[in-house]
């Protein structure tokens, strides 16, 4: 392998490998408050996500979990608070910018490119890593071709990894729900994210599908060292997968710690048993 190719590869892959040590702060959320008109979705929440961990965000319906992800990836701008990602503080970053900085995500209600095949959906996940266009490839072989091959290989690896070879060419609109969720994960992975945000990746799945998805999430975390923030309602899954858990209720943080600590936290137990406030 020649030197240029090696350089190319290291440039494109493993954004996760960014010099932040495992276990150090990758993301820090400080005193975030967010409201919609009169509705306070998030009130003064702070927590951190350490590099290499799986960080669960749990809480009852309407607790503000999705809103929190939307703040982190730049869909919502909080009225108060700051976010520090890889040591850089930002107040207002748009979603397209945070994506380029290495934050990828999936959605509670699947958001795929319905007009495209599985392969194209996942390929589009790499759009910010691609420098040259396909048309350019048609005109100019050489460096462009090498880059193209590299992107294709990355996408094929993801397709293999998620075991979705058989639906590569299928328009995603025709896929069953569980597979759509998997394709969505694939698209997020394609960006080589430093931080992966998963909003209820297992909602609506049967036991077998849940087991598969759990395995994929663990593998991504362990094989590629990808840091993951995971919103999930299934407590069994949360306890099995996550290193640390933050618990929200009515937009406030009511617990933060390892799964065991959180499980035994009286406030958390109250929130889940529905003790009135």
């Amino acid at each position: 392998m020649n030197v240029h190719l090696q350089e190319d590869l290291s440039k494109h892959t493993l954004r996760a490998d960014d010099g932040i040590a495992k276990g150090a702060d990758l993301l820090k959320v400080e005193n975030i408050s967010l409201s919609f008109g009169g509705v306070k979705a998030i009130t003064d929440i702070s927590f951190d996500i350490k590099k290499g961990e799986i960080r669960a965000i749990i809480g009852p319906n309407g607790a503000g979990k999705t809103s929190m992800l939307n703040v982190i990836n730049g869909f919502y701008f909080p009225q108060q608070g700051t976010i520090t990602f890889r040591g850089e503080k930002r107040r207002r970053a748009r979603a397209s910018e945070t994506a380029r900085d290495g934050i990828a995500r999936t959605f509670q209600n699947i958001a795929l490119f319905k007009g495209m095949s599985t392969l194209d959906n996942i390929m589009t996940g790499r759009i910010t890593l691609q420098k040259r266009s396909l048309l350019w490839h048609a005109l100019w072989k050489g460096p462009a071709e090498r880059e193209e091959i590299e992107h294709r290989e990355a996408v094929e690896r993801i397709i293999d990894f998620l075991e979705i070879e058989h639906i590569r060419k299928t328009p995603v609109g025709r896929l069953p729900y569980g597979l759509q969720k998997r394709v969505e994960l694939g698209r997020a992975l394609a960006a080589d994210p430093a931080l992966l945000l998963l909003d209820e990746p297992m909602a609506g799945m049967n036991l077998e599908e849940k087991a598969d998805m759990s395995r994929f999430i663990l593998d991504v975390n362990q094989q590629y060292g990808t840091t993951i923030a995971l919103i999930e309602h299934d407590m069994g899954v949360v306890m099995d997968l996550s290193d640390r858990v933050v618990v929200l209720d009515y937009g406030k943080k009511i617990g933060d710690g390892t799964p065991d600590e959180v499980r035994n936290n009286p406030d958390v137990i109250d929130a889940y048993l529905g003790v009135p406030h």
Partner: protein, 317 residues
């Protein structure tokens, strides 16, 4: 009477196939232009849910700018390049001044904003270029004005060279756009944004960049149709009507379908010409091209509410 509607027109077509070809060719030339304009609407609609009322006036504005620059002494081809530059600036200004501040507003507000753009361009265009009609700089651009004559079936088929040029350039632009949308990174981004805004942003596609891009594409389309249509009909504010010709195309093909715009445009161009010549002129006193396409679209929608190419609409409950 029945025979005049159902028999004679077809008998005429068979009796004089060369004339039929002539009619179809003229319909095809219009059809390609309709398809092109419809594509401009579709790209903007898909990436911003805006029905761009200003598309028509953009055609006028582009044509006026081109001719105006040339009248001011700028060489023809330099004028083309400068006009493209003006259309790009227009795209940037529209994104900055109109779209960005209004993001998240209801669709109807955005639609009304494009009416505002239309009124602005009318006023602005009149101040700079005056209200009187101009002649398209066809010859200066090197577009030939002779005719080519064929003799199919022992008959006569006359193709105007400027029509051939117009159809050729418009067809090239359509094909180029399709290649761009399917084979380039930016094109893929435009399609992705059209499919799902949130998902597109989450993979790093910037709304603002795409908006400038699709409005610039609409500007390029405006210039090309302005030249082509202006070469036939002169350059005046009446050029605007070419854009309204795209409305039935959109009703047929759907506001979101790229292939619908192309197929729909070609179909309407040819069918309205056929109808005018074989039914409209003998039976209805002619001039049916002003309304036939709308009628056709309405009739089709009666039987296929999702349009010709739309997916079947399934109500979610």
């Amino acid at each position: 009477m029945l025979s005049e509607i159902f028999v004679e027109p077809f008998a005429d077509m068979v009796a004089a196939p060369d004339f039929l070809m002539q009619v179809l060719w003229e319909g095809l030339v219009s059809g390609i232009l309709y398809a092109l304009i419809a594509l401009g609407f579709v790209l903007i609609y898909r990436s911003s849910r805006i029905f761009n009322f200003a598309q028509g006036i953009m055609v006028v504005f582009a044509a006026l700018t081109l001719v105006g620059l040339h009248e001011a002494g700028v060489p023809a081809w330099v004028s083309v390049v400068l006009t493209l530059g003006v259309m790009f600036v227009l795209a940037v200004v529209v994104e900055r001044v109109v779209l960005r501040p209004l993001v998240g507003q209801p669709d109807i507000i955005l639609f009304m904003a494009t009416i505002g753009i239309t009124l602005f361009l009318i006023g602005f265009g009149e101040i700079i270029f005056g209200g009187e009609n101009k002649v398209m700089i066809t010859q200066e651009l090197g577009i030939p004005t002779d005719s080519v004559v064929f003799e199919p079936f022992g008959g006569l088929l006359i193709l105007e060279q400027k029509d051939i040029t117009a159809a050729g350039i418009a067809a090239l632009l359509v094909i180029g756009l399709l290649l761009f949308l399917n084979k380039t990174r930016m094109g893929r981004a435009i399609r992705a944004l059209g499919d799902d805004h949130q998902a597109a942003m989450s993979v790093g596609i910037s709304l603002q960049t795409i908006w400038v891009l699709v409005w610039f594409i609409a500007g390029i389309i405006a210039l090309v149709t302005g030249i082509a249509w202006g070469a036939r009909a002169g350059v005046s504010f009446a050029l605007e009507v070419i854009a309204y010709k795209a409305l039935p195309v959109l009703m047929l093909g759907g506001l979101e379908s790229i292939s619908g715009a192309i197929v729909g445009g070609l179909m309407i161009g040819m069918l309205e010409k056929l109808f005018e010549i074989y039914w409209g002129q003998p039976l209805l006193g002619g001039n049916t091209e002003t309304w036939f396409a709308f009628m056709l679209a309405l009739v089709v929608l009666l039987f296929r509410p999702q349009g010709l190419f739309g997916e079947r609409i399934i109500e979610r409950v």
